[in-house]
Amino acid sequence: MTTYFGVDVADVIETMPSRFRKEAAAGISGRFGYDLGEAGRWRLAVRDGDAALAPAEDLDDCLAVVATDPQTFVGIQLGKIDATEAMALQKLTVAGDRGAFGSITRLFQKYLPPGEEALPDTELVVLKQTISVGQTFATGPVMGRFLKGLKQKKILAMRCPVCGRLQSPPREICAVCRVRNTEWVEVGPKGEMRMLEYVYYASPDPLTGETRETPYGAIGVLLDGCRDEEVFWHLLNPAQLDRVQMGSVIDGQVRHGSRLRPVWAENRTGSIDDIQYFELDD
């Protein structure tokens, strides 16, 4: 066989089983094919952490088959060719379960040409930091009045003088008409659930530094007095995630969602958390 980058491709292939890190491969099994052009076709059989390599014409029984030319294969092993770039240039293709193939490639120790000593791996430095800057957020008069309403257990909306749509929380301006909202309207506090999102991953809230318990339900509620897209966004009582129904209007067919009511916090401060969450209004 031939030499690429000063390295015999046969050596790269034949050392694959010995470079396979058994200790990291526990529980992994499967057959993986290597179609290496002039360097032949090979099947790697992994089972209970052991890896066996044999030439094989037929790779149809493999979970994934990587096809490339010997030069690209060796180049990637030596770090001279970037695998992602090779894929983009279609010099390397993976058919079948790419994810499984990717996991397997990570289990091989780096190939070292005969006679070369392993360089100590450069330790990669990673720093974890939390950036924290205190803030004084201004409500302004519109958000301020809405939040004060929550303190009084009222959910307020503003109405656009041109198109009549309601917004809650209210905005200074109707985005569609580009005019200032002028009229205040009380809506809800009960309503119908229109949207529910099961959230399994909570990012830390940058405004408080806290992370919500998961899973939680982010909901859009159509409060009494509102219509169409005028939904109010909040949270659902997490204990009721599996008991609620989303409402919808599809091709004119109306399906009503669960009727919900807000659960108010004992100690209200004029914040969106003055509503703890919404729950089923049974």
Binding site: V125, K128, Q129, G134, F137, P204, G270, S271
Partner: protein, 155 residues
């Protein structure tokens, strides 16, 4: 504010912007920091095309876009002050209580000065061209502060 502005519904809420980050120093940066940490050696990279030794090192020369990945060279842990200021406003992000001297220090063999702390001398006595040397940190922070600060030394 305008005299007719009704502030009766206006108020403020205290909060914060708090974001957790994971920063990677890069391969070049990692080598710089681990060498600093473990060997107390300060490394720069040399761009042959531009005839410049850059500290801190970087992977690419911004002037000619040359690859500087393997173009390491050691620079001295002594140098001279080429510029400085005295920071006198207290704040949470500052590394020391104020006042302290923030200096630009050109290390022996480097062509670009680094910005670092200068201690062991009253601010009024700091002067451009002073000879200074690095004082390495006892514990690592995996940053340039593995040099804890610089102090005056004999020329």
């Amino acid at each position: 504010m305008q005299s007719d502005f009704d502030t009766s519904d206006c108020y403020t809420i205290e909060g914060k912007l708090a974001l957790p980050y994971t920063y990677f120093a890069g391969r070049v940066g990692s080598r710089f920091i681990t060498t600093l940490r473990d060997q107390h050696k300060i490394m720069g990279v040399r761009c042959d095309a531009c005839d410049t030794v850059f500290v801190p090192p970087r992977q690419t020369c911004e002037r000619c876009l040359g690859d500087l990945t393997d173009s390491w060279c050691e620079v001295g842990s002594r140098g001279r002050v080429v510029n400085f200021t005295v920071v006198r406003y207290p704040d949470r992000h500052l590394p020391r209580p104020v006042p302290y001297v923030l200096a630009m220090i050109l290390l022996e063999g480097a062509d670009t000065p680094i910005v670092h702390l200068l201690e062991g001398i009253p601010p009024e006595q700091v002067a451009v061209d002073m000879a200074v040397e690095a004082v390495f940190a006892e514990t690592t922070t995996h940053t340039i502060r593995d040099i804890d600060h610089f102090k005056p030394c004999d020329a």
